[in-house]
């Protein structure tokens, strides 16, 4: 059969169209190359610049204005405190809101639609705006908590809460409704259904979303610039009301130092931050892949 068809019709494509196809394909590869190439260039740049300062002294020493002795110890512990507190506040709140919206709320009520639209919008409010809110309302103003760990955690909670809600809702939505119907048919209440059937099935998805949101909090710097943690904090935080610095702010601080000796320090601290984020991301992706295979 094939032999009867003229060559142009067999491939179905004229020379000109084939050229256009090839050019288009090259454009797609370039697009991919720009994204992946930049990532590679960034990792290599940070790695080579920071190599000389990547040692235990970096982690053991406190931030300092003297580059030879400067390290990031209080920034690492500060990040742990701030991001840990953020997770403690934002995850329960966000998951609860997601359960309400996905499992309990009547979709057609105006207030539920308002909440949904509002969360979508909050997710794309620039994070620096949350910093302004934090400055006016949390650090100063009504709450007056000062420039402390708890202030930073509350601000970051505002930043990541919409992401936690959206990711948890997606995880809940992925649970087949037959599971709910079966449970309800056996006489369980809605809450029992959620608690015993839906939540266990959605745990991998919620965990993935939670890890990714937490890693976003770990890398966030803009809103915290406003709550003035840019001095050298030479002691570790001891509680929620301690002054703090976090890794991204410490990196920012070292970048803005005029002396070039601080550059490798900023790069080395960036490597530390990237390694932690990479570990968190791969944990999230690992959980998701395992979960996807099961379905």
């Amino acid at each position: 059969m094939n032999d009867v068809v003229p060559p142009d019709l067999r491939t179905g494509v004229s020379f000109r169209r084939r050229v256009v196809s090839a050019v288009f394909r090259v454009f797609l590869w370039i697009s991919l190359g720009v994204a992946l190439g930049t990532l590679a260039a960034l990792l290599i740049d940070i790695g080579t610049e920071g190599w000389s300062r990547l040692n235990w002294d970096l982690i053991k020493n406190m931030p300092s204005a003297r580059p030879r002795r400067a390290g990031i110890q209080s920034a690492i512990l500060g990040s742990l405190w701030v991001v840990g507190t953020t997770a403690l506040i934002s995850l329960p709140l966000g998951i609860a809101a997601a359960i309400y919206l996905e499992e309990f709320a009547a979709r057609d009520r105006w207030y539920n639609r308002l909440i949904e639209l509002n969360i979508q919008n909050l997710a794309s409010v620039p994070s620096v705006v949350y910093g302004i809110l934090g400055l006016a309302f949390i650090a100063r103003g009504p709450l007056d908590l000062g420039f402390t760990v708890i202030t930073a955690a509350l601000i970051l909670t505002l930043v990541v809460l919409p992401t936690v809600v959206i990711a948890s809702r997606e995880a809940l939505r992925a649970v087949p409704s037959s599971l709910r119907q079966g449970s309800l048919a056996l006489g369980a209440t809605e809450w029992q259904t959620v608690y015993r059937q839906v939540l266990p099935a959605a745990v991998p998805g919620i965990a993935t979303g939670s890890i990714l949101s937490t890693s976003r909090a770990l890398g966030e710097s803009a809103p915290l610039l406003l709550t003035g943690a840019l001095t050298f904090v030479t002691f570790n935080p001891e509680g929620f009301t301690s002054p703090y610095t976090v890794l991204p702010l410490q990196i920012f601080r070292y970048i803005s130092e005029a002396r070039t000796e601080f550059r490798p320090l900023a790069a080395a601290a960036s490597v530390v931050l990237l390694v932690v984020l990479l570990l968190m991301n791969s944990a999230a992706i690992g959980i998701r892949n395992r979960f996807e295979k099961k379905l």
Binding site: S21, T189, T227, L277
Partner: protein
């Protein structure tokens, strides 16, 4: 035969609400109210944002006239004498947005078309996590890269006009653009993969090439989702603070040369915040006025984007 008539309260003994059941229903109601409060709290956050921006902004405009804010062209609110012409930081914001969109729209959509129409499952499984890593790079690290790599190695070498100093709006814009590529790619890919298979098959049956199916069938069908992705990208670019603050410097300027030093609205907020203005001073209030402006712009963009997405969902679900 067992009676099934439980209508009107005549439930069979076993189904009538016993003490345990009542307790379960009480727990149910309690949990529902509690979780509903968590959801309602998010509306409270928006109210809080608006209140905490608007009140100081009103105070600001009592001290600085709207005429000076929009009518003059020098922005120096933290100096003496203070000048409050907003256009230089608006120009900086527009430059960063335009440059970053010039990077993120073509390449982001290119990646999206590649993932949705060209790549097989195995390639996708490798590329998508890598893009997520790119999306997850902290902005402070991207700022470092823009300042110490993109400016000296790319912009200073290849930009034809003028002398490029340490700080450059162009570098900031390029890096913000690369940062946004994964966002554009993933949203546009979602829109394209939800175009029904039948449309593609129809195209192939008529003898279209893969490129023709991608650009003439899938792309137009997914257009509203793609528009949403682009609008959201613009909103992200406008709000980006740290990269611009690190790489573009902190000197506002009305300039036609994008490679020069500049300040955006967001990076001004960061800059002023670092300076630790005393509460109630005009410098402090400026943060809120600019913040309100920024919030309003991104709010409009977000609503457009959400609308566009909804339209495309209505068509294909």
């Amino acid at each position: 035969m067992v009676s099934t008539s439980s209508v009107g309260g005549v439930a069979p003994v076993g189904l009538r609400a016993t003490g345990a059941t009542r307790r379960r229903l009480l727990v149910q109601r309690l949990v529902r109210a509690l979780f509903g409060m968590a959801a309602a709290l998010t509306v409270g956050i928006t109210v809080l944002i608006v209140v905490s921006l608007v009140l100081p902004a009103i105070q600001f405009f009592q001290e600085v006239s709207l005429g000076e804010f929009f009518g003059s062209t020098t922005w120096a609110p933290l100096f003496k004498p203070a000048r409050f012409g907003v256009w230089p930081i608006v120009a900086g914001t527009v430059w960063v947005m335009v440059i970053s969109l010039l990077v993120s729209i073509p390449f982001g959509l290119g990646v999206a078309v590649y993932l949705s129409e060209y790549a097989n499952r195995r390639v996708r499984a490798i590329i998508k996590p890598i893009l997520e890593i790119l999306a997850g790079i902290p902005t402070v690290v991207l700022g470092f890269f823009a300042l110490f790599f993109v400016t000296p190695e790319l912009v200073a070498r290849f930009w034809p006009v003028g002398n490029v100093s340490t700080f450059s709006g162009l570098s900031a814009g390029i890096v913000v653009g690369v940062m946004i590529i994964p966002t554009v790619a993933s949203l546009a890919e979602d829109a394209m993969t939800s175009v029904p298979r039948g449309l593609r098959e129809g195209g192939y049956a008529l003898g279209a090439t893969r490129r023709e199916v991608a650009t003439s069938i899938v792309f137009p069908a997914a257009l509203s989702g793609i528009v949403a992705a682009i609008v959201l990208a613009g909103s992200r670019a406008i709000g980006e603070t740290t990269i611009v603050l690190i790489a573009a410097g902190s000197k506002p300027s009305l300039t036609w040369n994008p490679a020069e030093q500049m300040q955006s609205m967001a990076s001004f907020i960061g800059f002023a915040g670092i300076g630790d203005q005393s509460t109630g001073s005009t410098g402090y209030l400026t943060i809120f006025a600019v913040g309100l402006f920024l919030f309003a712009i991104t709010l409009v963009l977000n609503v457009i984007s959400i609308r566009a997405v909804r339209r495309f969902r209505q068509v294909y679900e």
